[in-house]
Amino acid sequence: MKLTLNLIAAVLLAAPAAAQMKTLNGAGATFPYPIYSKWFDEYHKVKPDLQINYQSIGSGGGIRQVTERTVDFGASDGPMTTQQQFKVDGKILHVPTVLGAVVPAYNLKDVTDLKLSGAVLADIFLGKITRWTDPAIAKLNEGVKLPDAVITVVHRSDGSGTSYCFTDYLSKVSAEWKKKVGTNTAVNWPIGLGGKGNEGVAGLVKQTPNAIGYVELIYAKQNDISYATMQNKAGKFVKASIESVTAAAAGVKMPADFKVSITDATGEKAYPISTFTWLLIYEKNNEGKGAVLKDFLKWMLKDGQAMTAPLGYAPLPDSVNGMVTKAIEVIK
């Protein structure tokens, strides 16, 4: 009997000890999920009493949960609009974490290096350029034998940060795109087929001869998909890579709130369809969570950045890293 009581007491006493284990819950963007889960995993090894859970439910869901305060932090591939931020009780800090890029994936027999400009890409996705032999494409690809065939356009059917980045770029390089379609995670596509997820788009492009779509750079690299070289704002042709994406971020003037689009960036080496991805952090946090978050962010900016490249993400340029390190000091 006494033994049982002792056991019960032991369990009861152990419970508060277990509660000391801190958990943080976050939700949001799917695009940075691989690097985020790596970070949270590695950080758990550094700080065994802290467990960070992250649900990759999509940027829209992340913003919604942050607004309703059902999570400790959010994540998004597109910055929150002023209207969205207005709805949140308290201030939200956008903390850029890594960079990604979107590439136009194509399926053309015997064409190893397709060159495209922003204007041409926009016209293809607007349905104005319908054949691969169009003079506008031929002019960019002198000496390349393009098939005399109709272009099949493939886009994402699910809402995604990838689409946001892609349509943001097209809106910058084409006034008509901006007016007719605009920028969003999901848009009213003028033409084309919808594939679900990167794998859905890549699958359709791979299977359909003479198709063009767009996927994340990491996805294209991992799956050996041919993707086009883009002409950037400086007029140079740049292939997407970790270096050219970081160059795009370095060429942009960073505002204090970090809400910046780096598509169509200036700079000779900049790849034009690049984007930051952000963690959405409350400036004022409850129960001492602010200090824990701040520690994690500091670690992420120092040790975490080195883990990005093997997973295909571009690390923050040094200038931005320095700015962010200073900015996160306000978190309480």
Partner: protein, 304 residues
């Protein structure tokens, strides 16, 4: 009254366990009524929640939401017609293909096939019913889509491809249920027909199928319900373009697919509300279909 007649000796002991049992019965009835109530409550809560969350869409667009075809999340302009059209057309296509096939297969299994073969085939068909829809969708992408393209469809994905996948999906339902009903056709009825010199075809047409009619209709509506709500497999092969085209080889879109695709990233309230509104419509359509099925089976039952 009976207690007055019953001998006094047996009254006591008989009453005690009896009344205790009645109390137990009451408790049991309460509990299971509670279970049934939960189901009802869940259905109402679902309808209530969907209505509440989609209220702003109905306020903004009214019933026009069901009859316009612009779906533009950037401009917050929403119309559900292409999705309604896609869901209806792909599901009807599926039934058009699967009903004759399924009923035919069931007739073969009950009337013609040797018993051993029928058993093996039934096992295979039941296995087919257990295949998850995402697997069927993958099969669609890797097998059906290239086949469709090689047959001359411009993209391979599209309304007809979705209809075919759905047909494949509901085929086991129609076959299994129809077979079950055909097995209940009384032997004497059939034997009487044979005795009159009827051929096998005449027996099937004159006795078996009319007898099994309500069961077959039930199977068809059950399948329709499944086809209307199918999400994953359809999303993977329908092409996901919110356009209305009479050409079945062109891409389309369905209600369930657009919800699955866009809900996670719907950041604006209007977009979210429009997606929930589509959910409400889909629920309504499913209810109407099921109601119609009940009514039809009830009427047929009364007539015969």
């Amino acid at each position: 009254m009976s207690s007055a007649v019953a001998p006094a000796v047996s009254r006591g002991p008989a009453k005690v366990p009896g009344s205790r049992e009645r109390a137990g019965d009451r408790l049991f009835r309460l509990i299971i009524s509670g279970f049934a109530g939960i189901i009802l409550l869940a259905a109402f809560a679902l309808a209530w929640q969907l209505t509440r969350e989609s209220l702003s869409t109905w306020k903004t667009f009214g019933l026009g939401f069901l009859f316009t075809s612009t779906w533009d999340p950037v401009a917050d302009q929403f119309g559900a017609l292409p999705f309604l059209y896609g869901t209806a057309v792909s599901s009807l296509l599926a039934l058009l293909i699967a009903v004759p096939l399924g009923v035919g297969a069931a007739v073969f299994l009950t009337e013609l096939a040797p018993k051993r073969l029928a058993e093996v085939l039934m096992f295979a068909i039941e296995l087919l019913a257990a295949v998850p829809s995402v697997i069927l969708g993958l099969m669609g992408i890797f097998i059906l889509v290239p086949v469709m393209r090689s047959l001359g469809a411009p993209y391979g994905v599209g309304m007809l491809t979705a209809g075919l996948i759905l047909a494949f999906m509901v085929l086991p339902y129609i076959t299994t249920i129809t077979r079950e009903v055909l097995l209940t056709v009384p032997r004497p009825l059939k034997e009487a027909m044979y005795a009159l010199g009827a051929t096998r075809w005449e027996v099937v047409r004159g006795v078996s199928l009319p007898f099994a009619r309500s069961g077959i209709i039930g199977a068809v509506f059950l399948s329709l319900g499944r086809a209307l709500g199918e999400t994953m497999a359809v999303t993977m092969v329908i092409g996901n373009a919110p356009k209305i085209s009479a050409n079945l080889l062109e891409p389309g879109y369905s209600m369930a697919a657009v919800i699955a695709n866009e809900l996670a990233e719907a950041a604006s309230d209007a977009h979210l509300s429009a997606l929930v509104a589509i959910g409400l419509v889909l629920m309504g359509v499913t209810l109407v279909v099921n109601g119609a099925a009940r009514l039809m089976i009830y009427r047929l039952g009364k007539r015969s």
